[in-house]
Amino acid sequence: MKHFLLASAVSILTASSAFAQDMFLDDVALLAADGTNSVTDIQIRDGIITAMAQDLVAVDGSTVMAGVFVSPPLVTAVSTLGIVDIGAERDTNDTTANTDLASVSLRAADSFNPHEVHIANARRRGVLYGAIVPNPTGDTIFGGTGLVAVLDGSDASILDDTGLVHIALGEAGARRAGGSRAAAMAQLRGALDDVRRTFQTQGEGDVLRRRDARALRAVVAGRVPLMISASRASDLLAIIALKADYASLDIIVVGAEEAHLVADELASAGIKVIVDPHENLPDSFDSVNASLDNVMVIDEAGVDYAIVGLSSFRTIKAGGLAQHAGNAVGNGLPFEAAFQAITGTPARWFGIDLGDIEVGQPASLVVWDGNPLDAMSAPIAIYRNGEALSLESRMTALRDRYNPATDDDRPYKYR
């Protein structure tokens, strides 16, 4: 059995045909979406997995790759991919909107651009699915309605245009709501009450307008997850209390730096959590107790959690998703748990079908040149539903133009 924490020596032999549709993967370390692993050979013909066993013989004409890792594609549980080109250029940035006309009913799906360059840059690092999350601004705690997307660059990228509703509590929510946590919670409770109201005119809600109250209805019914940005343990307890009042809510807390202080309570309340295993500093008074141990503690307590990289640069850092899970492993989280937190778990939450890596199934998988959770590794092939996806991006085009290893001596702009 391969040791999964060691990078493997990869060799790639291209078959005679330059258009080889078939691929033979020899001595594969196969990771499943639940993080478990095994060793096998895999034959792919015309995009279909035709054989999986040890000691197979390659079908003639196959591209042969040995010593690779194969896994389901990665899923980022929070991202702004597709809704911002350049964060600092307001006109290219659809992550927030300051308007009195809409809050919950602001749909990130209306902003989503599958051709945004960062999507291809994330895909070539193994991230093929994501929850795309708009953020609150102005005087509302509501960021709007997020979407779930496949990051294949196609015009059919949107898998669910009503994947979640995002709100901010904690310091960020307090700032939006007028200056205190009490104001943020009052805004939230008022909005939840507005869902039950029978509107005669659009503007008569305590907090929400008619359209926004309607959009929040599926959240109160538990059909759409309520994603809440919050960090401090006391805020997490307030969310647990909210769940007691509104039992149907499907709550996903983002950030949760102090979840380790209330891990058992989160687990028994059935509240899901998204954490960044790099967060170990008291960035604000919301996270005075931030610790590298956070993810280990919530794992042991049985909390249902996903791992992401959270920061002000969420878009660009989506590509580093695997490194965040890898660091959780470096700090003591079991490998299986870390891998599941960037594949199977967020896929289950958002209804994403990752496909099955089984004989007879169309290939939906990533082939890596090393352990996917080691930052030195990179994908060498990605398939979805039997189709090989491009690993090229604007980044690789720039790389190729300026590569000092090239023998192209034309002027740069002609390359």
Binding site: I86, L281, V288, N289, I316, G330, L373, Y402, P404, A405
Partner: protein, 450 residues
């Protein structure tokens, strides 16, 4: 007599030195940079220690067959194969990797500390585009919890810079990552000062509606106007004209004199080329371009001009001038023969710079380069030390240098590896197994500290 009198008078105020001109007709006084706020850093107590059975990456860029290293009185006193202890305490590394301590040339720990409350925003003097009179050290809070976490990541030396709002942002300061009540107690003894300058979007955005600069044209004009003033100021001192001491111009004169190293925030390739010409116009050297997201486009120019580039592994796209980032920036600059290095600019990233280098290294070799693991290590300690003017003191494991050493629990390029022990000046500062680790005052009394 006048020259002598001038000289004495200035000595009291400016600590200048005097030199008599050869011909005796015109005497000039060499500009000498005054010093203040001296370092009070003292290494922690250490015992002579021989590390044996180690896999050593020494930072020279070449592979070494040495497997043991002696640390005595805070210095590396021997490095070789199967050295004998001669009374030193023996630490059997058991085949673990031993490397130099990591050096981060671009950090804001202490001047943008956590918690990031408004009261802690001490990194940018956003009151004028020209603030070469300020010093990062006067905004550093030694209780920033980020210092402790960076130490756990193997960082033994770090350079704190003012932010990039201003054309001339102020002086940077090089620190030992040593637990201290004062910033003076962290200052790297005798390390040169640096001057932070900034290109591009930030100054023109910050000052566009506050009197300028409002464009890249204004940026360049702003640098030139002030280099002209600085050259005049320096000349007045050299001519014995006793100008009133001007902190702003003193720093710039220190650059023109070669005492202060330029660390310049600059993203775009074409802008870096403009800055190189600017430096030639006024006769100073740019030491390092920071961020340098497009350095890969002008690796040859950097190599020709002896300029280093400090870069991220994969940050890009957050503003227009960072849009062309690629994952191979560091290895491409290295392959062009220029001095390349990693930097963090971030309190989380500084904790795992070894991984950032590992990513860049792997991507460079994937793109067809052939860079060894020993060469790649120069991006973590050797080249940052060079760019800070402290390579004769630290940055590599060589006899005579400070014993700044990390012992890793795995391959240091692996995402799963962590420092087991971190030594600074031969003293054990962090030890994973025993839990030895400094703790900021701010962390006391929290749930975490219980």
């Amino acid at each position: 007599m006048k020259t002598l009198r001038t000289c004495l008078a200035l000595s009291a105020a400016l600590l200048v030195a005097c030199t008599a001109a050869d011909d005796g007709e015109k005497e000039t006084i060499a500009f000498e940079l005054p010093t203040a706020f001296p370092s009070t850093y003292e290494p922690m107590p250490s015992v002579a220690t021989l590390i044996t059975n180690a896999v050593i990456i020494d930072g020279t860029g070449e592979a070494t067959s040495a497997n043991s290293m002696l640390m005595t009185d805070g210095r590396i006193t021997a490095i070789g194969t199967d050295l004998s202890p001669n009374g030193a305490t023996v630490l059997d590394a058991g085949g673990r990797h031993v490397t130099p301590g990591i050096i981060d040339i671009h950090s804001h720990l202490g001047n943008y500390p956590t918690p990031s409350v408004n009261a802690h925003g001490d990194g940018n003097e956003v009151t004028s585009p020209i603030t070469s009179e300020v010093s990062a050290e006067h905004g550093v809070w030694p209780q920033d919890p980020g210092f402790d976490e960076a130490l756990q990541g193997g960082v033994t030396t770090l350079h704190i810079l003012p932010g990039s709002a201003n054309l001339f942002g102020g002086r940077g300061v090089t620190l030992r990552n040593a637990p201290s009540r004062t910033v003076q107690g962290m200052k790297f003894p005798n390390a040169p000062y640096t001057l932070k300058m900034a290109c591009g979007e930030n100054p023109k955005r910050v000052y566009g509606d506050r009197g300028g600069p409002g464009s890249r044209m204004g940026n360049i004009a702003g640098y030139r106007k002030n280099w002209i003033k600085a050259a005049e100021y320096k000349k007045k001192i050299e001519d014995g004209d006793e100008p009133t001491r001007d902190l702003q111009l003193e720093t710039l004169a220190g650059v023109l004199n070669g005492d202060i190293l330029i660390q310049m925030h600059c993203y775009r390739a074409d802008e870096m080329a403009q800055i190189i010409d600017l430096s030639k116009e006024f006769g100073y050297q740019v030491t390092t371009f920071h961020h340098a997201v497009e350095a890969y486009k002008i690796g040859d120019l950097l190599a020709e001009n002896g300029i280093c580039a400090a870069m991220w592994a994969d940050w890009y796209g957050f503003k227009m001038e960072s849009y062309d980032g690629i994952l191979e920036n560091i290895p491409f600059v290295h392959a062009a023969g220029a001095c390349a290095m990693i930097h963090s600019d971030d309190d989380k990233n500084i904790q795992r710079l070894n991984q950032e280098v590992a990513k860049a290294w792997a991507n460079g070799n994937r793109a067809g380069l052939d860079i060894s693991r020993d060469e790649a290590w120069t991006w973590l300690s050797t080249n940052p030390a060079k760019a800070l003017g402290i390579l004769d003191e630290t940055g590599t494991l060589e006899v005579g240098k400070r014993a700044d050493v990390v012992i890793w629990n795995g391959d240091p390029y692996s995402t799963f590896a962590r420092p087991d022990q971190v030594y600074m000046d031969g003293a054990l500062m962090f030890d994973r197994e025993s839990g030895l680790k400094p703790q900021s005052d701010f962390r006391l009394g929290t749930e975490l500290a219980r």
